[in-house]
């Protein structure tokens, strides 16, 4: 697994006067991997991305691309490319000219063919002569992607590229983006604050908070075995009972007393119908409030019902 990572961060930090944006982050990303940096705004994930792109210089630490330190390289000398949050398409250039921009700067040949191929890949054939102002948000996002992909960068850096899209489109674009990444085989470093995005698209992800990398692992790892309470609650809802956590979907609720499980007696406070499932909120006798996600086809609950709340010991989240 550790055989020659394409990108390696060696304890990089970024300090601004009176503020540590990134603190001692170390990370190895393998070739062809879809890696996400996940965290709330201000956690340092975008600063980390910008240091890889070369827009910011690390205060300490080393960034290695293909084993070589890229500390001294300007953004235009690094073989990485960024898809910006607002896409940063050149408004005075057509789709075709935007996608050509990087190839022309590098005086590469076969420009026409490569642009045509990448525009087909992102399904923008036929829009070549449009200006960015004359295409939809989703199309702009794909132009930004094509503009970077066409350069075949060692690592493609994506800074919350889906956050400007409307929610309906976002899910569809997630699948498309993952599909494109699989087809071109380029390493993606994807920054997002949306845990669903990170879980659904990544091969591995790193959760950041307060400038520090909290945990790195596969989506299953970090969701099912979070190392800290922060990671647990950032990746999804958690019921905190007696110092351990249980996810709502692993929390069961019934009127009969279960046997062989960890269980509490409780009273239903309210139920929320969410369409595909029902959230039942109950207050335990011991004082904690828990939410159980139950099927709408199962036993019905009403506020005031005396119930038992229970879960399997294996579903408990434990922390160091």
């Amino acid at each position: 697994m550790d055989a020659s990572p394409v990108l390696e961060l060696r304890s990089i930090s970024k300090h601004y006067p009176g503020h540590r944006a990134v603190n001692d982050v170390s990370l190895k990303i393998q070739r062809g991997e879809f890696f996400s940096l996940l965290g709330p705004s201000g956690c340092g994930k975008t600063t980390t991305l910008r240091m890889v792109a070369g827009f910011e210089e690390p205060s300490t630490g080393e960034i290695r691309l293909n084993g070589g330190n890229i500390h001294h390289l300007k953004p235009y000398e690094r073989n990485v490319s960024t898809v910006f949050q607002n896409y940063a398409l050149f408004p005075h250039l057509t789709v075709q000219q935007n996608v050509e921009f990087g190839l022309r700067r590098r005086s590469e040949n076969d420009i026409a063919r490569r642009v045509r191929e990448v525009l087909e890949l992102v399904q923008l054939a036929g829009k070549e002569s449009r200006l960015p102002s004359a295409i939809s948000g989703g199309e702009r996002q794909r132009v930004a992607l094509a503009r970077s992909l066409v350069l075949a960068p060692e690592v493609l850096l994506l800074d919350e590229p889906l956050s400007a899209l409307d929610p309906n489109l976002r899910k569809q674009v997630r699948a498309e983006l993952k599909d494109i990444q699989r087809r071109v085989g380029i390493t993606f470093l994807f920054v997002t604050h949306d845990q669903e995005e990170a879980l659904s698209m990544s091969d591995r992800l790193g959760v950041m908070s307060g400038g520090e990398l909290q945990q790195v692992g596969t989506p299953q790892d970090v969701y099912l075995r979070p190392r800290t309470r922060f990671v647990a609650s950032f990746l999804g809802a958690v019921n905190w009972i007696n110092g351990s956590g249980v996810r709502p979907e692993a929390t069961r609720i019934s009127k009969q007393s279960p046997t062989g499980f960890v269980s509490r007696t409780a009273t239903v406070v309210q139920t929320t119908f969410l369409g595909n499932c029902v959230h039942v909120e109950a207050r335990c006798q011991t004082g904690e409030t828990v939410v159980a996600e139950v099927s709408r086809l199962g036993e019905p609950f009403a506020p005031g019902d005396p119930v038992h709340v229970w879960w399997q010991p294996a579903d408990e989240l434990t922390f160091e």
Binding site: A53, G54, F55, K74, P75, Y76, S81, T82, F84, N86, A88, L89, F90, P91, H92, F101, G102, R105, R106, L131, R147, S148, L151
Partner: protein
């Protein structure tokens, strides 16, 4: 509602008609009359003044005005662009620098032009210092030539190019510069391929704001050109003063105005075709 709007618009309409349109019509009438012996105008109506506009002498003055105004405009843009770029990038001192750009407007234009004469003349500050230092023997001919006029015009109108350039640079999305670098553009390519094209509206506005007043300038060529460098402005001024030919002066004024308006229309049409 409409009546209220009419009342609010009345003052500006009055000013426009009384102080702008009416004088313009008077100038038009003058240009079509005959010159009086001691200035002023008399009957009969004639288009003789307009016929004289085609004389080689006047076309030469027009040409000279154009190239001096053109050279001044280009210099203002070339000098103004780096300054505007610098100001748009200085986060904290932005307002200080902008006030410094506007500072010369706080003193009289005439005084500032005289100050240049004091600097440039044969016994002026520059020549005196250079002579004292033994760098030159005879004074350099710094004053009373085209160069002095262009210097004076550039000095006077530089803020008019800096401010619109600053306005467009300030609005420029910095992500675009990062995107250009990210895609492999070296700083020079970023400047020519991204910054300059996106600054086109500011460059256009700056050019217009500098070129038009330069074309009609008369004080600067009069004082710094020493009467040797005659521009259209001086020609018009002379017709109303020493030459006592009001009809011809009026005809030249109207011809200049028409020319400028045709140029502006051409530019505004290109503006509509353009992006912004």
């Amino acid at each position: 509602m409409n009546r209220l709007r009419a009342w609010f618009l009345a003052p500006s309409w009055t000013v426009t008609i009384v102080l702008f349109l009416a004088p313009l019509l008077i100038v038009l009438a003058y240009s079509l009359l005959t010159r009086g012996v001691y200035g002023g105008i008399t009957q009969p109506w004639t288009i003789e003044s307009y016929q004289r506009l085609g004389d080689f002498l006047y076309l030469a003055i027009l040409w000279r005005s154009f190239w001096i105004a053109g050279a001044s405009t280009i210099l203002c843009l070339v000098l103004g662009f780096p300054l505007a770029l610098f100001i748009s990038r200085s986060d904290k001192r932005k307002n200080l620098y902008l006030s410094l750009v506007i500072l010369p407007f706080w003193t009289s234009f005439l005084v500032r032009t005289y100050a240049w004469m004091f600097l440039l003349r044969d016994t002026g500050l520059i020549n005196t210092i250079l002579q004292r230092l033994g760098i030159i023997h005879d004074p350099l001919p710094l004053l009373y030539n085209d160069g002095a006029v262009i210097l004076g015009l550039v000095y006077s109108f530089l803020p008019f190019s800096v401010l619109p350039l600053y306005a467009t640079l300030e609005r420029l999305d910095r992500n675009l510069l990062e995107a250009a670098a990210d895609l492999g553009a070296k700083p020079w390519a970023t400047l020519t391929r991204v910054v300059l094209p996106l600054c086109a509206p500011g460059i256009r506005a700056g050019s217009i704001l500098v070129f038009i007043p330069c074309l009609g300038a008369y004080l600067t060529p009069d004082l710094l050109g020493g009467g040797k460098t005659v521009m259209i402005g001086n020609l018009i001024q002379n017709q109303f003063t020493t030459a006592r030919d009001w009809p011809f002066g009026s005809a030249v004024s109207l011809a200049l105005m028409t020319l400028v308006m045709v140029l502006l229309l051409g530019l505004s049409r290109r503006d509509e075709e353009g992006l912004l």
